[in-house]
């Protein structure tokens, strides 16, 4: 234990220099802005920094890149809350209750709680990182294809049960998400599937293209109806950028529960923050005494995924710092940048470069505080943006949406897809088909299929593999239980 505190002391000594704090500030601000814009995320933010970090010493470089990463996690949900447009996959769930809160005139409270929850999640995640890194990294290695598949199953079942109304519609949405996820070259055999001869589809459909379509652009479509009515928010009080104690109290437990969940999901190789946020939302909705308020502006429904999202980002640092393995797209770019500076994070980073490893940890703890300080005041001008009349806001959202789309793959073909998905999303909303299962199935589809097929390869075709491993069995049982539970609850409501 003492060793850890000694190391933390080294870390803080590295982190607390004027240069580093300045870079944390700049990086955090850049990340927040990047996170807000749909299509631009932490990976792009970090990539932009590569030429800038080249002249820095390695610890400053890594500290700056981490600040961008964290900033993006803070910023990602701003647009979700204000205009129902997630900045990246991890901010989808923040739309569920964040946007209804804005509609209820509570945008200020929503922005405040999301910054606070991000801070709490991030800090808890870092504490876990400091004290539990060793055992957790070891446990994560136990996650093979079979465990991965069972986890996917559990997450998907949880998301379907979230949907309001018919369970069958959730299943249908999930199937469509899976269909979209299988378009393109199958990595396991190299054959081309479902592209119908369109060459641009060979690499598959980027889920962010779908997201920009069904959320951002589709939201514009929906607002065409209200164009001529005066924008209601002008007259209404938007709400102070702060939360009341009563509101905060509701969020404490959800935040404390979601942080460990997010952290562990983040540690798993190849798992994104999207799955952590969906799972935490499902968990809170099931535990809540007032689940009917979820989706209509329940503040705890926003706080939980925000906390999970940020502790997930802390978790994603574990494989990078302890094993030298990038756990996510962003950490992969960070790894590349570090290598250009002659530092190769590996299993011995902690002993080889303690000042870098611990300096980064200390800087993230510090960065979390700085980011809250940036984000709370930033919310005040942001809230003012809601006063911009719809007739000006909507074209700007369109422009931003297209620019974000271009940055995803630098391909203008995606514009056609975005338009198609926007129309699809609009039709779906008319039919009341829930979108979250579709988006999640699209994000997880590839991993779900591949982990299933890899499990089958490993077991020479026997399904028993899913029931021989304790973690896998547990997850399958959990999935089954939550499905049955949700069916029973629906029956009770119906009768």
């Amino acid at each position: 234990m003492d060793v850890i505190f000694d190391n933390l002391a080294i870390g803080f000594a590295t982190a607390i220099t004027a240069t580093n704090i300045l870079w944390v500030f700049i990086g955090g601000l850049l990340g927040t802005v990047m996170g807000m814009l749909p299509g631009l995320g932490p990976a792009t933010g970090v990539a932009i920094l590569i030429p800038i970090t080249y002249g820095m010493n390695p610890s400053t470089a890594l500290i700056t890149m981490c600040a961008v990463y964290y900033g993006a996690m803070f910023g990602g949900s701003r647009a979700s809350i204000m205009i129902n447009t997630p900045g990246d996959a991890s901010a989808i769930v923040s739309c569920f209750d964040g946007y209804p809160m804005t509609k209820n005139g509570e945008a200020g409270a929503a922005l405040a709680i999301s910054a606070i929850a991000s801070f709490i999640g991030g800090t808890i995640g870092m504490v876990f990182l400091v004290f539990l890194t060793g055992p957790i990294a070891a446990a994560a290695l136990k996650f093979g294809p079979a465990e991965m598949f069972s986890l996917m199953l559990f997450a998907l079942v949880a998301t379907i049960t979230l949907a309001e109304g018919s369970l069958l519609k959730g299943v249908i949405a999930m199937c469509i998400g899976f269909m979209l996820s299988t378009i393109g070259i199958d990595p396991l055999t190299g054959i081309i599937r479902f592209t119908f001869g369109v060459e641009e589809l060979q690499d598959g459909i980027d889920f962010l293209v779908v997201m920009i379509g069904v959320y951002a652009i589709c939201e514009v479509f929906k607002n065409y109806k209200n164009l001529d009515t005066k924008y209601s928010l002008d007259s209404r009080s938007i709400g102070k950028v702060w939360v009341s104690w009563a509101q905060f109290k509701k969020c404490i437990l959800p935040m404390l529960r979601s942080s460990p969940l997010g952290f562990f999901v983040g540690v798993l190789p190849g798992m994104g923050a999207s799955i952590a946020t969906f799972m935490s939302y499902a968990m809170e909705k099931n535990l809540s005494k007032t689940p009917e308020k979820f989706g209509k502006g329940a503040i705890e429904g926003l706080a939980a995924p925000e906390a999970a999202n940020n502790s997930c980002a802390a978790g994603a640092m574990v494989p990078l710092l302890t094993l030298g393995i990038p756990g996510s797209g962003t950490t992969a770019v960070m790894l590349g940048a570090l290598m250009m500076l002659g530092v190769r994070p590996g299993p011995i980073l902690f002993s080889q470069f303690p000042e870098i490893a611990w300096g980064v940890i200390a800087s993230i703890l510090l960065g979390n505080i700085i980011l809250v300080i940036i984000n709370l005041p930033l919310a005040i001008p942001l809230v003012q943006l809601l006063k911009i009349p719809q007739r000006i806001m909507l074209p700007l959202i369109l422009g931003m949406g297209f620019m974000g789309t271009y940055f995803l793959n630098y391909s203008s073909f995606d514009f056609i897809l975005v338009m198609a998905f926007a129309l699809g999303g609009y039709i779906f909303s008319k039919l009341e088909i829930p979108l979250p299962p579709l988006v999640l199935a699209l994000i997880l589809g590839g991993t779900t299929e591949q982990s299933f097929r890899n499990s089958m390869s490993l077991s020479d075709g026997s399904l028993a593999i899913f029931f021989q491993k304790p973690i896998s069995v547990t997850l399958i049982v959990l999935a089954a239980v939550s499905l049955v539970y949700s069916l029973l609850k629906r029956r009770k409501y119906a009768s």
């Binding site: 990539a47 990595p187 190299g190 060979q202 770019v333 250009m340 002659g342 890899n454």
Partner: protein, 325 residues
Amino acid sequence: MKKLFAVLMLIALFATAGAASAEWKPSRTIELIAPANPGGGWDMLCRTVQKALTDEKLVEKNVIVVNKPGGGGATGWNYLKGKKGQGEYLAATSTLIMLNNLLGKSELTHHDFTPLAALQTEWISVAVEQDSPWKTVKDLFEAIKANPSAVPVGVGPTLGNNDHLVFLELAQANGVDPASIKFIVYPGAGGEIVPALLGGHVKATVIGLAEVLEQHKAGKMRVIGVSSEKTLAEILPGVPSFKEQGVDVVFPHWRGIIGAPDLTEDQVKYWDGVFSKMVETETWKTLVKNLGWDSFYQNSAEHKAFLEGSTKDFDELLTQVGLKK
């Protein structure tokens, strides 16, 4: 009328004079096309070249990196193909320009472009668990021969890539039927394969050396061979190359630069001059070392001949293992 004629004459005179001065130079911003997203190997190559060219002042114009990911490089290369004769457009390339075509994924070959240089290479390695009984490539393949089902081999991101081909070549050389090997494909490549091997989900992997070098040094896994000509004494002492282990497989995973189609001799000469100078600079050498690459410079003529030879070799190999389409 006379006036117009005189003006036309003047223009013609200047035009010929311009052409006769032989020396071609970029007249606007130089675009380096990375046919991949930021962070990948091609992107890193472009950014390294950008850095070296700018810092060492080897070109007079601005250099920008343009990312055009998609189609295993095809999107970016197709974009370059549209810039016929314009010497300011360059793109990163690698073995994939041959493999994609042979695997039936793309129509493009190096004949569609002007090969300018090979710049660097990475080596491909075979790694096993730290406590596994296999110390040499031969040990591993004997185990596979005995019971292929017990030795799952991690590979990624897709079948038919460089890493996969190396393993197929090794299998053939060791008398193992390539079709019998149990490959587990990880589309997340190194980021998923390394934890899978550390966690014991796969028993061996064939992967770029940089991805496992640190694990090997830290004693978490064991590299049992590399695809270089000789032992890489500087970075990986004590691990003999495949060739030194008696298996004749040498396989550089090189990356290089191609220019737009139909570049003139002057344009090619200009870039030969620039790149031959660049690979000698300190900036370039440091970056190559930091990134764990090996220098692998070929000028335009050498590179073109090399591409011809490699294409033939790959064609034979892919036909033999039944992957050619």
